[in-house]
Symmetry: C2
Subunit: 347 residues, 2 copies
């Protein structure tokens, strides 16, 4: 494709095979999850594993930290890898780790994953008391350094408060509208409207539990849902966040759901009858299927420019404005923008 | 002064007062110790403390990661702070932490501090079997990412082997020649010659235990020693590494010497009679005294150009060539140089 192709979330069992499939599918950038319930030190080990992959496959992937890295990836026929956490566990109880993890390359962090966290409430809790005291502090620090607030797995009130509290647009990297598939993980019209009005981004998920008819969902139904969402809030805030969990063993979905917080099995969106990863729809099985999605959007009535925006252009614009230090505050991060801000602040 | 003023090592009890004294003394850059015996996580907490200082004092200090940051500091009347460890304890037993810590800003790491480490032998051990297996691996990784090997507290054979094994020049950031003051911490002619021949750097220490006559050492004697060293190996490899430990309580020198490796008191270079920090020579008590040192060098016979080189020009040249990824290898670090290397490697 001529525009940019960016996937707003994947959690694959990464390998050279998948890196090559991303090239075959023309994926210029992907936000990859490197922590579900990991501590800081465990998350650092996951950064280390990626450092090895960058060293081993320099012709296929590169570390992404800014929007320009997506452009560099496209120019050099590689995929830019952006890091994120589905839970704030990597910062433990230490706000100083927000900047440390941003320095290591983190660009997205969910404030909660299904459960209550130190920062916010997850979508599976019975009660949602909204952002915590630490949650408000951490959002301020994330805004300062350029770490995007992601509320994909958070509950309604916490999500609305995060949109309002954050001084910079937030993201819901991987979820669908509840009007189409009323899963706990999908989002209300109110959340989607507030997100769009604040300049945030919604990444449409292809994870079967977020789809109407789950694994049997058709490409037509999925693209029609995107068209209905666009009618509601416009196209500028829409992207893809496939939630592709390719080649993962079922032990991984257990880790995602149960972490170390319970000794019993939590089936999450699954059930005792089908506890593992659900099969993907046959029209989206791996990274080589993005062109089908693009064709589906055209068929659903989006023109070439709108389709390019949804397939990656909108994410790229969001990356450009979200990953650097906040412009209005003094900053000490070692980027050119920060240097200018600092110098300006002195004179 | 018109040239650059760079101090190759300090371990102060940092405060706004000291940051202002560095401005008064015209210090453009300083390599600061942020770990003696700290684990990885403890070292990260020390990075966090510096992130706070960068945020709180943007008009006095900035994070230094490249030689250009020294130029930026001088242009904007600030001091660039470069991080280092006096012991490899921050990488624990994990070679992947070398790149992680370099990403966080580490630019120097000693392979051993007085004792045997996982990598090399310290200068207080009875035996020095040379570099360990892990030591050779870690030097290769440090060379790859641009983390400088520092052998200030290491033993003779380990030091000579590090100079030979490292594919990039190493540093002895803070020590003096043993011919002038035969302390265990000072270096033999053989080490100094090997260091100079390999393009490495020697930072002259003002810590009294490394000085002839200790706290009573005169400025004349110190500068005369530098002149004798220059006669031996030239001036291009010479700099200052003051080892200034300003405002530190004596509990800190206990931590430096004994860490957690002994339950008894190790007096190191001190003694039971004077276990604390020794008083500094009266001509070098804090960062405002660098101009006296500069004047002393001129009086000892160095011309203006040689003096400027020793006061900072040599360190700046060393910083320029040492802190980026190795040019001859593919690299994935997010710097322009790395990008060029990667792109080049693909075509």
């Amino acid at each position: 494709m001529t525009g940019f192709l960016i996937d707003g979330l994947q959690y694959a069992n990464w390998s050279e095979r998948i890196f090559r499939q991303m090239r075959d599918g023309g994926v210029d950038a992907v936000h990859v999850t490197i922590a579900y319930h990991e501590t800081f030190r465990e998350t650092v080990a996951n950064f280390e594993r990626w450092n090895r992959w960058f060293e081993d496959f320099p012709d296929l992937i590169l570390r992404g930290t800014t929007g320009d890295d997506v452009r560099r990836a496209k120019e050099t026929n590689r995929t830019a890898i952006f890091f994120g956490f589905q839970n704030p566990s990597p910062i433990e109880d230490d706000i100083g780790l927000v900047e440390i993890l941003h320095q290591l390359g983190a660009r997205f962090m969910q404030l909660s994953y299904n459960n209550q966290s130190l920062l916010a409430t997850g979508c599976y809790e019975a009660e949602d008391p909204g952002l915590t005291r630490m949650g408000r502090e951490v959002i301020g620090e994330m805004n300062r350094v350029g770490l995007v607030v992601d509320m994909s797995h958070s509950a309604e009130r916490s999500t609305l408060e995060a949109i309002e509290t954050s001084s910079r647009p937030i993201a819901i990297t991987h979820a669908n509208p509840a009007f189409w598939a009323p899963a706990l993980r999908n989002k209300s019209d109110r959340v989607i409207r507030a997100l769009a009005e604040s300049g945030g981004m919604l990444g449409f998920s292809l994870y079967p539990h977020h789809l109407k008819s789950k694994s049997d969902c058709t490409l037509e139904s999925f693209c029609e849902m995107i068209a209905r969402t666009a009618e509601m809030v416009g196209t500028q805030c829409l992207g893809i966040g496939s939630d592709l969990c390719q080649d993962q063993p079922d032990s991984v979905v257990e880790w995602m759901r149960s972490g170390r917080w319970t000794k019993t099995v939590d089936y999450g969106e699954g059930s005792a009858a089908s506890p593992g990863f659900p099969p993907m729809p046959d029209w989206f099985e791996d990274n080589r299927d993005f062109p089908k999605l693009e064709a589906g959007l055209r068929k659903a009535g989006f023109d070439a420019s709108e389709t390019a925006a949804i397939m990656g252009g909108n994410w790229l614009r969001f990356f450009d404005k979200s990953f650097g230090p906040a412009r209005s505050e003094p900053s000490t991060l070692p980027w050119p923008e920060a240097a200018k801000t600092q110098t300006g602040a002195m004179s």
